[in-house]
Amino acid sequence: MAMREGRQTIHRRVFLRAAGAAAGAAVASGGIPGIVSAQKAPSFPKGTKLNVLEWVSFVPASDVEFKRLAGEFGKLAGVDVTVDLINMNDLNPRIASAIETRSGPDIIMMISNWPHLYADGLADVDDVAEEIAKRDGAYYEHNKKVSVVGNSWKAVPLCSVPSTWAYREDWFKEVGASKFPDTWDEWRKVGIALKKKNRPMGQAFGHSLGDPNNWAYSVTWGFGGAEIDQAGRVAINSKETLEAVKFTVAVWKDCLDEGGLAWDDSSNNRAYLAGTISATINGASIYFVAKRQFPDIAKVTGHGHMPNGPGGRFYSIGGQGRAIMKYSKNQQVAKEFLRWFMDRPQYEKWMASNDGYVVGPTPFWEKHSLWEKDPKLAPFKESVKFGRWPGYPGPPSRKASEALVKYILVDMYAQAIKGMKPEDAVKWAESELKKAYA
């Protein structure tokens, strides 16, 4: 597991340790903040560059804040930091190309279980990750599970972007629901009443990585089913999964907007803001756009938790992390950057700029003041406790990724909705999963 660092970097490390030791105990444990507080300039060779690749955040303000923080670090460390932002979906080809050509950004954002997928191209970041956990408390399980491959940390958990049910409080009240239903049966009753009034709920079943999987995985787990068991054997063909599928087919007709088969991640946002649906699973993006452009809708929008099923209450959350690329010649700088960024003063600012769209990777951030500011965002904060990763209860391996990108679970539900017998749909999913997990 030798890291590909040259002699120069080793010398740098030695220098840093020496400089740290010279500056006192505070420095040795505090990295850059320590050095700054000890009034000693960090010693990276002049002209060191650090390139960070991230997704384009749905909240533009957080991109601005991140770039600002990156610039601040650059000044502190005497390093030239550049940040590139592209779509979440377009990160994969960039990452693949970077790993294969062994050149490109030093730090790349990892979404969900990508650390498992790209493990061979990522450097170990155990020191940084564990340091943060020691200081802020243990990570949420899903964040940890997706970031640890084998015995090493391959990414530093950054945050989660949870989803909850955005719903029209006013319309729900009209049909007698004073709060969001807590069980699937209650949910269905409310849904039936709403659809009768031409206000169905909305759910995507198309080929998009976000919203469709929020139903497919959460509902399957909620009814007690799972793709694989803890040992990694395909376990989808069960009574519980069948129940989940049958339930979905029933509510498709009773409660859901039937355009959902064609929906991608953005369709439900549009439909909700146009007033054609009364509730949908989504991140906080609907609420934010509403606050800015459709304040009347924002006023009557609330957020509810995924209903409780016979198997429990679950959310499909992968979490986000930041990984340092193995080919990077600036791994030390990168680690310092991550340490500095995840440190409380900086992270606090970044989280505030996200305005509730993200949740921190450790329970420490549940205390952030922004959660007090808008109580409607509270469910997002709580949702991470029920968060699970693709492949749960098995490991979030690259096989789980294959199942994800083949949309096996989503298609299982979609085909059943389209008319396939639920038993056949489940059997189909089983054979597909067996091939993916072969």
Partner: protein, 282 residues
């Protein structure tokens, strides 16, 4: 230019005007929609009941946003530069290669011809990773040259082949007459065959330019900083944020990214005629 005689005016209407109007209508309908969307205020965009065909409150805000929130002007310049240079390279290579394969007899003609076109069979969605290696080796990553030099890989085969087809339609005898009169092979090629192939050159040029203008994957992977992006990449990656699409600026970007090119094309398309009548009627 063909002048076709018609019988009655009705016949003319039915066989010409009606199909023409239908064709233009069907082709441009989405653009009409795009124009309306780009000048329509956000509130109206999300209103399902509203008539999608006109708006009573047109706004230029989306166009302003496009320039204010993104580096659109930069991208337009990048795209123009990249497309022009790639086209020039591909067209030159294609012209020479097409002539050689169509006209000249030499031993390796068939296998070389096949080889050039076979490279077209490997799709960009597969090629971009090994190409990334080549780009890195030459140190041209994140510069326009990364794409200018990789675009010809899919432009040259088509230009070559198309021009081969054009050269085939020009009778050999024309050249042979010139050579009898004393022109060298090279002169016959340049003075006689090339001018006659101008319509082919223009359409190959249009094809190459448009494909470069439009290209997504290589530009996505090889150009990383915002200043280097091209219009498709820039507009798409910065105006589609997660699950929120900024429709107004997106459509504004689409329009601004295509109408100027269409205007330039209109100029070239007319050249077909002048060039041709000049060459044939002498």
């Amino acid at each position: 230019m063909t002048t076709v005689r018609y019988g009655s005016r009705l016949k003319r209407a039915v066989t010409f005007h009606v199909p023409l109007v239908l064709m233009v209508g069907a082709t441009l309908f989405p653009f009409y929609w795009m124009v309306i969307t780009s000048i329509r205020p956000d509130r109206e965009l999300y209103n399902v009941q509203m008539n999608p065909f006109f708006t009573l409150h047109p706004t230029l805000k989306h166009f302003q946003d496009l320039f204010a929130l993104t580096m659109f002007a930069h991208w337009a310049w990048n795209t123009l530069f990249i497309a022009t240079v790639s086209t020039a390279i591909s067209l030159s290579c294609g012209l020479l290669a097409g002539y050689a394969l169509a006209r000249l007899q030499f031993r390796w003609a068939a296998p070389l011809g096949t080889l050039i076109f076979v490279t077209y069979l490997v799709p960009p969605t597969l090629l971009f990773i090994p190409l990334g290696d080549v780009v890195k080796t030459f140190g041209i990553g994140d510069t326009p040259w990364a794409v200018i030099l990789t675009y010809p890989t899919f432009l040259i085969p088509f230009c070559t082949w198309l021009l081969m087809g054009y050269f085939k339609t020009i009778p050999r005898e024309i050249e042979e007459c010139a050579r009898i009169d004393g022109a060298s092979r090279l002169q016959a090629m340049i003075r006689i065959s090339f001018p006659l192939a101008v319509p082919g050159i223009l359409s190959a040029g249009i094809f190459a330019f448009t494909l470069s203008w439009n290209e997504f994957l290589y530009a996505l992977v090889f150009l990383s900083s915002p200043q280097q992006k091209t219009i498709p990449i820039g507009v798409f990656t910065e105006l589609v944020r997660g699950d929120v699409f900024y429709w107004g600026p997106l459509m504004a970007g689409a329009l601004l990214g295509s109408i100027p090119v269409a205007l330039v094309y209109s100029f070239f398309v007319e050249h077909y005629v002048t060039a041709l009548t000049g060459a044939v009627k002498g």
